[in-house]
Structures are given as structure tokens and as C-alpha cells.
Amino acid sequence: MQTFLQVLINGTGKGAIFALLALGFVIIFKATEVVNFAHGSLALAGGYVVAVLKPMVGWWSAAAAGITAAAVLALVIERLLLARARNASDTSLAILTIGVDVLVLTEVVRRLGTEASPFLGDPYDVKPLTLGDVTVGRSEVVALAVSVVLITAFFAAFRFSPWGVAMRAQSENREAAALMGIRSSRVTASAWAVGGALAGIAVLFLATQDFSGGGLSQATHGVALAAFPAAIIGGLTSPGGAVLGGFVVGLTEAMTAQYVDLDFAKVAVYLVMLLVLVVRPSGLFGRVVQARV
């Protein structure tokens, strides 16, 4: 029972991070219809900035700089590349982001080199928290708290702020929204920036001893890849679904790692996704595209 509670809390904490990644991914998809395969690289690039600045300016400023860097990189990708390829098909744009992903990943991994990969969670990493008779990683608890705040803030903004209204209008019908005076380019750009910032926050927890046992490296990119199944499980068009998918992925991974096999944990996530897709081809809450003749 004690182990179960421990795994449950750790899994929820991990799920919170996948939720952040998947949420950013879905925000970008909703606003631009682009599947951002470079999402893992955004996280990695943000993490690299944190790792470089940390010894010089301290963790807090470095973290802020890293989050900003990830947001700016996302913005640059959107403005410089995707905004110029509006008419390409969805698949072409997805492949374009794969190209960007290869570039950013290669450069960051090359810069990291073969030296010990840096850990990024200084204020909370490897400081186990004892609640009653259950011991859990502090990173997971902090991650959960941070993402609950961020996700609540996002949904409030999405629901009530002018930005959220513009965003929903655009994802509903791009042309009609433009005719109503919504600046399409501003909405897309802000969506990418928010997605990038969320990835930049997520990496602060991904590259910790508690979370993955490894520092910032190519493996971090592999871990972040689990955000794709998370977003797909929930349905690519549903922010709520992304959050749910994130928790499903986190819990699945933690449970199978504890009770089945560490290697199998990585596969289990994808098998759950396949299962969901066979039953619901557009994910749990995704918009079902119907063919009209």
C-alpha cells in the first residue's frame, strides 16, 4: 500500500510534466494546425540555456532565461519558417518541424558533448519529502503544484481573456475570425510562444535525478517524446484532453516501471495510445473530422 501510494504520487507528478508538454503541443496545434515534432527540441534548447547560465547567475535567473529562450525559439520557428509556408499541407509542415527538430537536437547534443550531463532541478532535486510514512521525490510534488497553477491559469485565460477568445475563434474558423478583426498572425505567434514556454518549464523537471535519473542529454529528448502519445490520447484538438493524456502517460509509466519492468514502461505508454486510437481514432476528446460529399 505504501509503495502504491508512493508510485501514485510520483506518477502524478510525472504526469503533470507530460501534461505541460502536451498542453503546449495542443495549443500550437489548435492555433496553427501544425503538429510540432520539434517540441522536444524546444525543451532541450531551453534546458541548455539553463545549464549554461546556472553557474553564472544562479538557478532562478537561469530558469527564467531558459523559459524565455524556449519561448523565443518557438516564436522564431513560427515567424521565420512556418509563417512562410502557409499553403503547404499539414503533413509537409509536420515534416518541416522534424527538420527543425533534427537541427536543434543535433546542435544542443553536440554542445553538451560527452561530459557529465547537467541536472537542472537544483532547488528541489534529490530532497525526498516524507509525508506520514510515504517518501516521495520533492521534484514530483513541486512539478504537480507548478503545473496545477499553470494549467489553471491557462484555462482561465483560454476561457475569459481576449487572447483566449481570439484563439478559440481562430481554431473554430480561421477565415471568419480574420473577418471579425482577429489578427491571425498574432494569435499563432502567441500560441507558439506559450507552447515553447511550457516546454521550457517542463525541462526543469525532466532533467532531474528524481524524474528521469539522468541530466540534460539526448535521452531527455526521448523522454519528452512521450508528450506525443499524451496529446494523441487526449485528442489533438482538446487542451483538457492533453492534460488528461499527460496524467495517463505519467501514471502508466510509473505503474509499469514499478510493477512490470523498467524497459516495458516506455512501451506501455505507446500501447495505451494504440489501444485508445483503435477505439477512438481521433483520441478521447479530439474533434472527429467527418467527410462530407
Binding site: T91, I98, G99, V100, V102, L103, G113, G222, V293
Partner: protein, 377 residues
């Protein structure tokens, strides 16, 4: 992507006579050059060539699936693994205590491996037939992870992660990937045919068969069905194309190609061994992405483009060390611009530039350059 249905140039009606003669002459010249190359190139360059051909076979399969039929797949690495493992198991020695093997003749093993990979692709039909676009792309990613886990969980089949198992030597018509067996003394124009030369001809034969089969499919009825499904599923259904069956079929064919490429990979590396990590290795996500890069760089749906893309993406990392002769220099801190880094930069940048400026890839570029010549004749 819509103008890649003109990908195979020979489907365009009304080609001039001179154009056609030029094409035939060009193809003949290419064949002569490819046949003559081993007589001049040193062995290490032949290894580069055979690795390019391995990539080309895989890329041909993927361009049928993604370029012609419009189904995004990131599972190519998995089907490479299926092919390689199937060959190792089918042709492996029967009495081996550590590894399972059926002791079948290598030729049967090769055909069996291709067949099994095709069936594995067909078995994915319940998923691949129902999903479209990005959902399929991410769903296919699941297979790569499944393969990674299975490879590690079943060392008796896939070889142990530390030492791996040896793929059986293969030989047909005197063309071989044989390492130790006594070679009969063959020589052409006074050049003795050694191991690398024979491997070159074997790979060339396999690649040519793969290419011709793909070309036949693309210009015939299956190709028309694939393009119909790609361009508009509803319209394809109305035309009497069974969308689910076509999708499952093209997935199976593409996987069979990947299976053959997998066998060629195992021969080339000389060892069958599962990947160390899920992000890097011979059968992982990075390989799937490399194959996707090949067909995008070459031009989605174009067969010559796929071969060119493969030559670039698989050729660069093995050719660069030979060119610079400094493979082992400054590895110390690991931040050097190694051949693999340079290759990644090259194809990453090419993907971006090609999608932005020339969506039909090198094939489109070629058509544009040759276009005026064609129009004149």
C-alpha cells in the same frame, strides 16, 4: 504534395521521342557506370556504396507509403528490425544453444524475412486503416518502441545487446556477402572479384529489383489507387477503391521493402544486435526520421528522388571520414563536428529548405531543369 503524382517522369504522356531516347541512353549509361565502378573503386568506397543502396531500398518502400499513398509513417526502423531478425532466425544454425535458428538456406531466409516484414506491416492494418495523417504518424511511433523493447526482451531471437549474433553468410549466382568461405577465383578484365566487389553486385541486384518492382507498381493500377487515396479518400471510395484495403496493402509493401533493407543492414554491419537506447541505434526513431528525410529531400513519391536522398543521408556519414581522413581526431570533449553531426545538419537544413522552397524535392528540381529540354523535343 499534390504535384508529386507526376513523380515518376515516365507517366507523363506526350513525351517527345528524343526525350525518351535520352532517358533510355541515360539509364543505360548509369547501369554501365554502376557495373564498372567496383573495378576502379577501392573496397572502403564500395562499402559506402553498399550502405547507400541499403538506404535506397528502404527509402523506395517509404516513398511508396508516404509519397505515393500519403500515409505518414515513423515505423520504418521497426520493420528494418523485423527483417533483420527474421533473416537471422530463419537462416541461423539449428543446433545453436544460445540463439534460436531454423537452419534454412540463406535464400529462403531472405525471402522469408521480406515476407514476414510484409505480414508485420499488414498486421498493423487495424490501426493503419483507421487513422490518418498525424495520428497515424504518432501511432506508428509505437511500433519503434515496441521493437526496442522486444529486441531487448528476447535476446535468444534478436541477439544479446552486448555481443549480438552473426547473420548467416549469403550467396547467390556467385554474388555474396560471404566473409570466410572460400571464394572461387573470378576475375573481370584482370580485376579479381573480392568480397567487397561481390557484395556490391549483390546489393546492386537487390536494389535494381526493388526499384523496378516499385516502378511497375507506381505506373500501374496499384499506384493509381495509392494516389487516389492520398489525394482524396472520399473520391477514391466513390471511384471504387477500397480505401482500407489499399492502405493496408501499401503498408505491407512498404514494410517488406524495409525488411529487405533490414537484412541488408545486418549483412553490412556483419552483426545482428538490438539497439542500446530507444533514441539512437540501427533500428530506432532516428533511423525512421533519416528515412523520412531521404524521401523528402529526394521529393515525396519520386523513386529516383528516394535513391538520391538515400545516397545523401546514408552516404554522407560514411563517406566524410574517408574524405577528411580525420575520423579519430578531436573526439576528446565530444563537441567536435563529427561526420554524423555534419550529416544531421545537412539533412535537417535540407528538409526545411525543401519544404519551404521546392516541395517536390530534388526530383522537382531535376524536372524543372530538364523541363525546357523536354518541352522543346
Amino acid at each position: 504534395m499534390s504535384d508529386s503524382n507526376r513523380a515518376a517522369g515516365d507517366m507523363v504522356p506526350g513525351d517527345g521521342r528524343w526525350w525518351r531516347i535520352g532517358r533510355v541512353a541515360g539509364a543505360a549509361l548509369l547501369i554501365v557506370v554502376l557495373l564498372a565502378l567496383p573495378l576502379y573503386l577501392p573496397g572502403e568506397w564500395l562499402k559506402v556504396g553498399t550502405w547507400m543502396m541499403t538506404g535506397a531500398v528502404g527509402a523506395l518502400g517509404l516513398t511508396l507509403l508516404t509519397g505515393q499513398a500519403g500515409q505518414l509513417s515513423l515505423a520504418h526502423g521497426f520493420f528494418l528490425l523485423v527483417g533483420a531478425v527474421s533473416y537471422a532466425v530463419l537462416s541461423g544454425p539449428a543446433g545453436d544453444p544460445t540463439y534460436i535458428g531454423f537452419g534454412l538456406p540463406p535464400v529462403v531466409g531472405l525471402l522469408g524475412a521480406v515476407l514476414i516484414s510484409g505480414l508485420a506491416g499488414a498486421a498493423f492494418a487495424p490501426v493503419s486503416g483507421r487513422l490518418r495523417g498525424i495520428y497515424l504518424g504518432v501511432a506508428s511511433l509505437a511500433l519503434v518502441f515496441l521493437g526496442f523493447w522486444l529486441g531487448r526482451a528476447l535476446p535468444a531471437v534478436a541477439g544479446s545487446t552486448s555481443s549480438g549474433r552473426l547473420p548467416q553468410p549469403f550467396s547467390i549466382f556467385g554474388l555474396s556477402v560471404d566473409v570466410s568461405r572460400q571464394l572461387s577465383s573470378l576475375s573481370v578484365f584482370g580485376v579479381p572479384l573480392g568480397r567487397d566487389e561481390r557484395t556490391w553486385y549483390l546489393y546492386l541486384l537487390l536494389t535494381a529489383i526493388a526499384y523496378l518492382l516499385a516502378q511497375g507498381a507506381v505506373s500501374g493500377r496499384p499506384g493509381r489507387a495509392w494516389r487516389a487515396v492520398r489525394d482524396n479518400e472520399t473520391a477514391a471510395t466513390v471511384l471504387g477503391v477500397s480505401v482500407v484495403r489499399v492502405k493496408a496493402g501499401v503498408f505491407a509493401i512498404s514494410s517488406a521493402y524495409a525488411g529487405l533493407a533490414g537484412v541488408m543492414t545486418a549483412w553490412w554491419t556483419g552483426i545482428m544486435k538490438p539497439d542500446e537506447s530507444e533514441v539512437a541505434g540501427s533500428y530506432g526513431v532516428t533511423v525512421s526520421i533519416a528515412f523520412l528525410a531521404m524521401i523528402v529531400v529526394g521529393g515525396l513519391g519520386s523513386l529516383p528522388g528516394a535513391v538520391l536522398g538515400a545516397a545523401l543521408v546514408f552516404g554522407l556519414p560514411v563517406a566524410l571520414p574517408l574524405l577528411t581522413q580525420s575520423a579519430s581526431a578531436d573526439i576528446g570533449s565530444g563537441t567536435a563536428f563529427s561526420p554524423i553531426v555534419i550529416t544531421n545538419f545537412a539533412y535537417g537544413a535540407l528538409i526545411v529548405l525543401i519544404i519551404l522552397f521546392e516541395p517536390s524535392g530534388m526530383a522537382g528540381l531535376g524536372r524543372r531543369l530538364l523541363g525546357p529540354a523536354r518541352a522543346r523535343t
